[in-house]
Symmetry: C2
């Protein structure tokens, strides 16, 4: 259905699905990629057959952006500031590979695999914002978090009730510019303002590679990165518990047990597509992000569930000082996106068969199956193993399919897995950034189908 009179976000012009492709890499490769994608497509088709009349875009649309980016694709980047930098943006970041031997960038956890789901959703995920809406700084001054849009608050609580992964009742919702901002807000909130020495911030290795850099970049007098929680000696600290853990997918609890210590639970990946939901978490500070829930990383939106009012107030004060609140546009949109997800489960409708967590879980299961097969074929890598558990959300025993693969090179003579993969034009994140050995790398499992399939093909060929 075409809509008149509603201006759309400008999109870059799209060539035909062949166009630049054939000239660039040849028909043979195009056919190969389409062939290798069959498994995913079949899996997806099982529960979500797009109807033509719903305006869903074709699932494997190639656009001009990819061709432009790819034509400049190089290993490394003109913008890269060296591999010790936390995030190394290269000319291949966020784009599709455009030939069989292209660089495959799996360094970031860019959740572009969700694009195809939202294309299938048709207009259910669309939003129109009128020019005059959302002008004021204030969203709801009756809420402690005065910059939280009421609809977003409502849909967050509804989604947690639906999924059963966290207790939102009795918690304040604090919205942030991604969970990255909320992580800093929580550090600020938990550090005494007049502390003579910075509070120690720790996390059990392997820990999320951003924690050290984000804790230390301003050399704050309030808090300071103190490394692996398992090696920490002391009673006063902030322990970061990421569960399921980034990078290795493990389910975690705090390793330190002091009464004077505090804990931030980063639950970005505690959603049914990645792991069985075994119970509703009910901690003092729980962080979530839209990026890993729905795929909308570009919206830069996260939320915290916070039990203590004074801690919530200090987190809100941080967001106020750091950015005077959080984009209303992102909140309007995310409210719509979360609503579409919950409606998919709660409003039975033969036309409304699009279920995000089902899509995500099935796609992740196919990907992990293919990854484990490729690792077996290659014979030079290993992966963590996970036990299945009963998932209260699906009502079934389900497997764990983490958003990242924590891959270890077992090949003799290879000490640095990232370098080894880089020599085969696969970009990954070195284990050393996670407080682990360089034999490990973190690989994103959330890229677009064609990127993932090319990765599997290349990994299988390594010996």
């Amino acid at each position: 259905m075409k809509r008149e009179g509603s201006p759309k976000v400008p999109t870059r012009s799209k060539p035909s699905r062949r166009g630049s492709w054939i000239g660039f890499a040849g028909l043979a490769w195009e056919l190969l990629i389409v062939g290798s994608l069959a498994l995913n497509l079949v899996a997806i088709a099982l529960f979500a057959s797009p109807s033509l009349d719903e305006g869903g875009a074709p699932p494997l649309d190639f656009d001009a952006e990819a061709s432009v980016a790819a034509s400049a694709a190089l290993v490394g980047s003109k913008h890269s500031e060296g591999r010790d930098e936390e995030i190394s943006v290269s000319s291949t970041s966020g784009s599709r590979p455009t030939s069989k031997d292209a660089v495959i960038n799996l360094d970031h956890g860019d959740p572009t695999m969700y694009e195809s789901f939202w294309k299938r959703m048709g207009h259910r995920g669309d939003i129109t914002i009128a020019g005059w809406q959302g002008i004021s700084y204030f969203s709801d001054v009756t809420n402690l978090c005065w910059f939280l849009e009421p609809e977003f608050d409502h849909e967050i609580r509804r989604l947690h009730r639906l999924v059963g992964n966290a207790v939102a009742d009795g918690h304040f919702v604090v919205v942030g510019t991604g969970s990255t901002q909320l992580f800093q807000a929580a550090l600020y909130a938990l550090s005494p303002p007049d502390t003579p020495h910075p509070l120690s911030v720790v996390s059990a290795a392997p820990y999320y590679s951003s924690y050290p850099a984000v804790t230390d970049y301003l050399r704050s007098g309030l808090y300071r990165w103190a490394g692996d929680a398992s090696a920490f000696k002391g009673n006063i600290y902030i322990e970061l518990v990421c569960s399921p853990n980034n990078p290795d997918g493990s389910i975690r609890e705090a390793v330190l047990k002091s009464e004077n210590g505090t804990i931030i639970h980063d639950l970005a990946y505690y959603w049914p597509q990645y792991t069985p939901i075994t119970h509703a978490e009910d901690h003092d500070i729980m962080l979530f992000t839209v990026s890993k829930t729905t795929g909308h990383a570009g919206s830069r939106l996260g939320w915290a569930l916070v039990k203590d009012k004074d801690v919530a107030k200090r987190m809100i004060k941080f967001v106020e000082l750091n950015s005077i609140g959080v984009s209303k546009d992102s909140q309007f949109r995310a409210a719509k996106i979360l609503k579409a997800i919950s409606d998919g489960y709660e409003l039975p409708n033969p036309k409304n068969k699009y279920k995000l967590f089902d899509f995500g879980h099935l796609l992740m299961s196919v990907r992990w199956k293919r990854l484990r097969e490729a690792v077996k074929v290659s014979g030079i890598f290993s992966l963590p193993e996970f036990q299945s558990s009963y998932c209260t959300f699906t009502g079934k025993r389900t497997e764990t399919y983490p958003a990242f693969a924590w891959l270890k090179c077992e090949k003799e003579g290879v000490e640095d897995c990232e370098n080894f993969l880089r020599s085969h034009k696969i970009l990954s994140r070195n284990g050393k950034h996670f407080g682990a050995a360089r034999k490990f790398v973190r690989i994103s499992m959330l890229e677009r189908d064609e990127t993932f399939e090319l990765f599997i093909e290349r990994l299988s060929s390594l010996t």
Copy 2:
């Protein structure tokens, strides 16, 4: 024109224009307010007569939100953490007064006066974002600022060329979550990472009240607030130059002249509605914000024009560490909003007579005229005076109409103007927060018509 199939941002239900009003404050007051608004309405009508077929909402629409907020309105707030807090959010923040003796909150620079312009613009400022758009973290990896949307970049440069207020050519555009984030990014970029002592950050008093708090809240080892630039002794520093200045509207240059010092130019208010555009500024770091340009404070979006590549890179690194980029949704929308403004001037069209800067300038001129009259009638206040200048944008000699009024109490026995106004239910920001005397307050001139008119009426009555 009604559009089918394009879901809108949920809006709170609107009662009829009387409804709760009459019950609450009586018809008499409603008539008074409507009467006092006549001057503004006439002024606006001079150049922007809304056509019914364009879907523009009525200009003085009262909605349920205001009634709800107002029914709880109190002087002070349950959320206020005391007047020394930088931003004191109260139950009256962002809402309209609902009776003649209601609290009038002019503490914030909430630019809600722009709502009526965007309502008149009809669908020209609307945007529809499809569910699958803007998923990736990355906007354009060929740009140094990889999270900057190309359309937003384009419209920023176009607007600066149109207005002639700043040289964008030869500058990098760095996008931020409001200019507040970019201010911190600039501090980070200008501070040597290995500095043994925090760099001194100064600004000539009266300075923007947020500068000290935003500089110091994390007790950074990189930089530290050092107060009034005019009193600073030393050669190494970052000087903040806000021009036109918040709070007093004065045109400023750096007061310190050391070769080893650096300067951040905060040009948030250097737009034709507030001040004559006398020349295009061409400094190393220039900060702008969508809030004060178009009114969209809720979008939390700003931009910096940065001359030096390494400084730009470090600012980008800050935004990466602070929030992994900036909301794409806000950027999509702001690109559309800026485009609508530039189109209003550059695409002559009898139906397209809506010109933001003309609207803003005319409305501000009416408001300043009324404010000066009220001050004269009252006899206990004074205001700064400004010289007119030739404005290269309008091609006319124009006056200065700052976004804030820097009001001084001249009444004998009144040492604290904020307290005095508060006793008359007018909330303002105390001069002490700006490094000035308590006889001064900052008053927002950007609130909605009815708030401003009630303020003028009450101010005139004070003796």
